[in-house]
Every structure is written in C-alpha cells, then in structure tokens.
C-alpha cells in the first residue's frame, strides 16, 4: 500500500500549499485598493506584534479603511468563495454530475425571487435596523431547494434524475414569477440586476457575522461527508449494498450544500462559475476522491474569490466591476486551459 501512502503525503502537501495560497490572496486583498494605503503601514497594523515587520503606521482614517472596509470584504470573499466551491463540489458528487453547480436545485431562482420581492415591495430593514434583503435571499434559496426536493421525491423515489428535473422545473417557475414582477416594476430593474450579477460590497462586519455560523456548520458537515460522497459515486444500488442509506445521505449532503449556497447568496447575490471551476481545478491536481476534493474546494474557492474581488475592485478603478463578471471572464478561459491540459494527460 505504498502508493496510497505516498498519494496521501502528496495531498497533505497540496493542502498546505493551498492554505499558503489563501494567506497570500488575503494579503493581496488587504494591500490593494482604490485608497492609497502604504503597504508597510498595513503590514504593521496586521503583524505589528511580530518583531521587525513593517515600520509604517496608519492614520485613524486609514485604519478605518483597513479594518472596516477592506478586511471585512476580504473575509467575506473567503467565506462566500469557500461556500460556493464546497457546495458545487458536493452537488457534483451527490448527483454524479460534473455539470452540477450550487444553483442546480433552484437555489438561485428562489433567492432571486426573494430578493426581487424585497427590493420592489419590501422595506429595506426591519424595525430594529436589520437589513431584510439578505434574509429574503437566504430563505428564498432554501425554499427553492426544499420545493425541488419535495416534488422530486414525490415523482420518482428520490432518484438523482427525478431531483434534477424537479430542480429545473422549480427554477423555471420561480424565475418566471421573478421576471414577471421585475417587468411590472422597471424602475427597480437596475437594483435587481445588480443583485443578480453578484457583489461583495459590505458595510463593516455585519454580513460576515450574519452568515458565518451557517457557513461553518455547512462546511464542517460537508467535509465530514467526503467519504460518503465517494461511496455514492458507485450509484445508489451499490452504495446500499455497501451498507449505506443513499437517499438519506444525499438529503443531508444536499441540505448542507444548500445551506452553504444560501449563506453565500444572501450577502453576495448570484456569483456564477466559482462552484464549477474550482472543484474541477482541484480534481485535476489531487484526483477525484471527495475526501480531498471537498475540503480543498473550500480552500481554493476562498483564495479564488478574494483574487477575483481584487480584480473587480481595481480593473476599472475607481469604479467596480460586478464580481460575477470577473469570475466568468477570468474563470472561463482558465477553466478551458485546465481542460485542455487534462485532456492531454488522460
């Protein structure tokens, strides 16, 4: 079993490298921005407790920019990127479908409808000042998936095909309602559209605090289910003969993945492509075992979205590109290159 041992060693090395990559991405994320903060000042603010790091200092205004604008945004990008990637990896495993993404079962359409309803008819905040839009998106995403699961379960014994088809039906239906409402209220079109393209603008740490608990629960659950996803890979029948309950396990995985998606969508809108490109890129590096693909997707997704956000903030500075545009513009060609390379290997 020498081969298994060396593969394990290599994969652990890959995890270490990936974590280093996240740290690097985060550093770039806080160092780069439209406001001209000195690098040494930022490094001093971050690592002043380490002797010899950075001798500059920030004014109190610069300090506010660092701690209340850049830092929470970078952290939010980490969480959203990790959530979308791990959710995509899990959906792809649970449905044995490489094209599955976090929005497969109606999460996007549900969230879109929830957000549109609030933007057009709702108040901006509850009476205590809590913003309603994230909560409506969150609830909408989960409701969309629940509806798809209920319909899919009633029509075909919870097979993957029945579920995916139910997801398609639910997504079309909810999108139709959303489009209808949107067309009746064209004055809000721009705001709805901006939400759909995805964005990571934040006001301090509140968004991070809002989604962190859900993100942590979902990510931990999914990482723990990596081995189960591998067993599901042989099909429900064989998985059952190996002592597993495929329908129940898939329900738990889909619930956790949907929770991660809903958390991401609640604060960032619909950012596409992350949930597909990152897991596939990870598979090209470490192989297809979900025990490694699932955790590494979370790590890779965090780094990827932080860097995509840096591009979104700086490419047309002082303006901003929608991050969904960046993930697709950067992601699609990178993905095509990866596929070409892997095509030559296998």
């Amino acid at each position: 079993m020498l081969t298994a041992g060396t593969t394990r060693g290599r994969r652990i090395a890959v995890i270490a490298v990936a974590l280093g990559f996240v740290v690097l991405a985060v550093l770039i994320g806080v160092l780069v921005g439209p406001a001209d903060l000195s690098a040494s000042g930022i490094l001093h603010a971050l690592f002043g407790w380490v002797p010899g790091v950075g001798d500059g200092s920030l004014t109190s205004q610069e300090s506010t920019i660092l701690w209340q604008l850049r830092a929470p945004r970078v952290v939010l990008a980490c969480i959203v990127g990790a959530c979308l990637s791990i959710s995509g990896a899990s959906y792809q495993g649970a449905f044995r479908n490489p094209l599955a993404d976090p929005y497969l079962l109606g999460a996007a359409a549900g969230a879109g409808l929830g957000a549109t309803l609030v933007i057009i008819y709702g108040a901006a905040t509850f009476t205590d000042g809590t913003p309603i839009l994230p909560i409506a998106s969150f609830v909408g995403a989960l409701a969309g998936v629940a509806l798809a699961y209920a319909i899919g379960g009633s029509m075909g014994g919870r097979t993957t095909v029945a579920l995916v088809l139910a997801g398609v039906a639910v997504a079309s239906f909810l999108t139709a309602i959303q489009t209808f409402i949107q067309q009746r209220n064209v004055d809000s079109l721009r705001e709805v559209y901006t939400w759909i393209l995805g964005r990571l603008t934040t006001a301090g740490w509140s968004d991070v605090v809002l989604i962190l608990p859900y993100a942590v629960i979902a990510i931990v659950l999914l990482v723990l289910h990596g081995r189960m996803l591998d067993v599901l890979g042989v099909g429900d029948d064989e998985a059952a003969s190996l002592g597993m309950k495929p329908a129940r396990t898939r329900l738990i995985i889909v619930a956790a993945a949907s929770l991660a998606t809903a958390a991401a969508v609640a604060v960032a809108g619909l950012i596409g492509f992350v949930g597909i490109i990152v897991p596939h890129a990870v598979r090209l590096v470490v192989g297809t075992s979900n025990r490694w693909v699932v955790p590494l997707s979370a790590i890779g997704g965090a780094a990827f979205l932080v860097l995509a956000d840096v591009v979104a903030r700086t490419a047309v500075s002082p303006g901003e590109l929608p991050i969904g545009v960046v993930t697709a513009l950067v992601g699609a060609p990178a993905f095509a290159l990866l596929l070409r390379r892997s095509g030559r290997v296998t």
Binding site: M1, T3, A4, G233, D237, E238, S241, G243, G287, T288
Partner: protein
C-alpha cells in the same frame, strides 16, 4: 454461513416478478441461478441482498436478515453487480477500499486495519501491481477481479455474483469462476451466482436453481437440472448432453439445418 430462502418473492405494482422461491445453500456451498433473459435472476439476487423489498424470509444461519441493519447486512453479504458503476478517475486501491464502508463509522475514515485488508485482498487476487492504476484502464478480466476484490474487502460470508462472466472471453470466464471456486474453498464463503453459460454453471456450481418467468421450475444438482428436455422447454434451445472427462457439457445443435435435411 448457511443461506436459506423461505418463500422469497418480489412483487412490484401488484405483479409478481420472482418467486416464491425456497432453497437452502449450505455453508460454503455454491448455488448457480439459471434462467433465460428476464427470468428474474438479478431480482432474486437483489432480494437476497436486501436491495429490493420482498416477501418471505432470507435467513443467514437461521437469523432473518430483515432484523439486521443495512450496515450489518453489508458485513455479511458482498454483492458484485452485473454492470458496476465506476466513479470517474478512481484507482483500483480506492475502489477496493470502498468495500470497507460497512466497517467504518459514519463520520469515520479508513484506518490501517482497512488498508491492511485491502492490501491482503489485492494480493490474494493478484492485483497488487495494479493498485494505483485507474480502474477504467484495466482489461475486462482484470476489472472483474477488482469488482470481486471490493466485495471481498467487505469480509462477507456470502458472496452474490450477478453474471460475473458476461462480456468476458471464454478464457477469462474460466479464470473468474476458478477464482470464485478458490475463494469458496480458501475462505469458506457461500456463493450464489446468476450464470448465463449453462455448461460452465454445470461444471462449477454445486447446486442449480432454474428460474422461468420468475418461477423456480427446477432445483437440484447439475445433473438433475441440466437435461436436454429442461433446456428445450425453458430456453427453447436444442442441445445435446455430452460427457467430457466426467463433466456433463451442453452443446447447442442447429435446429434449422436438421429440419431442412429432414424435408429434403
């Protein structure tokens, strides 16, 4: 482990697909399940493995499998599917490791014991050299050994094989059946296999069960079940029984040619 089927029947939408079947496979025995296409061989095996709802009882050493959890059942019965689903890019070692699933707790991960079992099974089936290869790059005969290896990694006492020789050339068919015979003798596993080839079934299985449209029409030793009359009646085939080196071998003969000669 003695495997006993007591009036086992599978009914789907009010239509009985198989059964009721009564048969006892002694500890370490080999029951070959025969029947034309669509006779219900696979369904019967699925019922024994608890993968499809069924009437009647399946008993392992007298204990009803309905009282066992999915997981416990999977440590006793290993199944080799007719057309296994191969996960993309999986290596032979990782595939065989999946057989350890019933021995690992829900959130647990495979430990040294599991890897040791996988290593032992790979060695026993002469697959050690292929451990890190992708399963999809193996030949048909090698792949079939890997499927058997995964089932053996479950450390079962009963092995169910659904047409293990389909799509193999005649040499590899003999290899696979010799392997099963070897495992049966070395490890004492009880074997139930659906088999397509009547001659091979007669040479390897100790007992045969012939299904026709879901009904068990003949049970017994190969010489009792495999007669020219039975094959003509239930397979609609014209065969001759020839004794070769003490084994009964079935040889198909041409019906059309014979009729034509008679007419001329």
């Amino acid at each position: 482990m003695t495997l006993e089927l007591e009036r086992v029947a599978v009914t789907i939408d009010g239509c009985t697909i198989v059964g009721p079947v009564d048969v006892i496979v002694p500890d370490g025995g080999w029951l070959g399940v025969l029947g034309p296409n669509g006779a219900g061989k696979s369904t019967l095996l699925r019922a024994v493995a608890g993968l499809v709802e069924h009437g009647g009882r399946v008993l392992l050493d007298g204990r009803d499998t309905a009282t066992m959890s999915r997981k416990e059942l999977a440590t006793r019965i290993g199944v080799v599917a007719q057309k296994p689903v191969i996960p993309d890019g999986i290596t032979v070692a990782d595939y065989v490791l999946l057989g350890r699933t019933p021995h690992i707790s829900y959130f647990g991960s495979s430990g040294f014991d599991d890897l040791a079992v996988v290593g032992e099974v790979l060695a026993a089936l002469d697959l050690t050299g292929a451990a890190s290869r992708r399963l999809t790059t193996l030949s048909g005969g090698e792949a079939q050994r890997v499927y058997v290896a995964r089932a053996l990694a479950q450390e079962p006492t009963v092995l169910l094989l659904d047409e293990p020789t389909t799509s193999l050339d005649v040499g590899r068919q003999q290899d696979v059946l010799e392997l099963v015979e070897h495992l049966r003798r070395e490890r004492g596993v009880t074997v139930v296999s659906a088999l397509h080839d009547l001659s091979l079934a007669g040479q390897f299985a100790e007992d045969l069960l012939l299904l026709h449209e879901g009904v068990a029409v003949a049970v017994g030793s190969p010489s009792e079940v495999l007669t020219e009359e039975v094959v003509r009646e239930f397979y609609g085939a014209e065969v001759r029984m020839v004794n070769v080196d003490g084994d009964d071998v079935l040889i198909p003969v041409r019906r059309v040619a014979r009729d034509r000669r008679a007419a001329w």
